[in-house]
Amino acid sequence: MPTLTRWLIKTALLYFVASLALGVVLAAKDAFGLAPSLAGLVPVYFHLLMVGWVTQLIFGVAFWMFPRYSKEKPRGREGLAWAMYASLNAGLLLRGLAEPMHSGAPSAFWAAVLVVSALLQWSAGLMFVANMWKRIREK
């Protein structure tokens, strides 16, 4: 298993645990009438689960198992794939911080962080597509 795949899958596992733990907090909010501001965490919960866990797990397995790009570069542009990993996780973590902060107390600072997080996640998605596209081909 390539090093990047190990990083992707282990990071995905951390998001898996974190997102479901956050789900417990959100359920407790409803059950025990905790601070209504916790509702700002709902989109964070969904994205930690679907992007941090599911999508990142797919990225890790695809990078490992999909057909090789070439003999010299079996997994395509590895530098681009590492940049994708960094960009995806930086974007997701910044989002996890900025989205509830901005929804609780809107400010120019948190708005800017949110925009940066959107750009990081979006560019990570495009980097993944760019790196995988040519590996998806007939034998």
């Binding site: 797919i58 057909p67 989205e99 948190w110 959107a118 996640q121 998605g125 995988m132 081909r137």
Partner: protein, 135 residues
């Protein structure tokens, strides 16, 4: 990788890029209030990423990797799998674009029914392939 898997996975990648782009636009809108009309992308964002990307990717990989017949030559009922490809993409477009364009609810409902057809067609191909490996 068989041609149908290439099509399924590459189409899934297109939906992934589209869904991520719509999500990014909505997140930026949340931060800087460009135009609330961008929130009409919400249903398309969810549909593209959940069915167009995740489900379709799983279909592509399953069609490629599940055990084959006749000494590894045949992937079973291939017309059913091709039907699943066309149906799932028609369904996603109906659901995704129907909500964005403000079309009647019947359009999204039709899309969901078409997606059920895709699942049935895909199951028709995959079901007999899920079996013990020959000794």
């Amino acid at each position: 990788m068989p041609r149908l898997s290439v099509l399924l996975i590459r189409t899934a990648l297109v939906y992934f890029a589209a869904g991520f782009t719509l999500g990014g636009l909505m997140l930026v809108e949340k931060a800087v209030r460009i135009d609330p009309v961008l929130w009409r992308f919400f249903d398309a964002h969810v549909e593209f990423l959940l069915v167009g990307w995740t489900v379709q990717l799983a279909m592509g990989v399953a069609f490629w990797m599940l055990p084959r017949f006749e000494g590894g030559v045949s992937r079973g009922n291939e017309p059913a799998a091709w039907a699943a490809f066309f149906l799932v993409n028609t369904g996603v477009l109906f659901v995704g674009l129907g909500s964005f364009l403000g079309l009647p609810q019947a359009v999204s409902l039709t899309g969901r029914v078409i997606e059920v057809g895709a699942a049935l067609a895909f199951a028709l191909n995959a079901w007999p392939r899920v079996r013990p490996s020959p000794a």
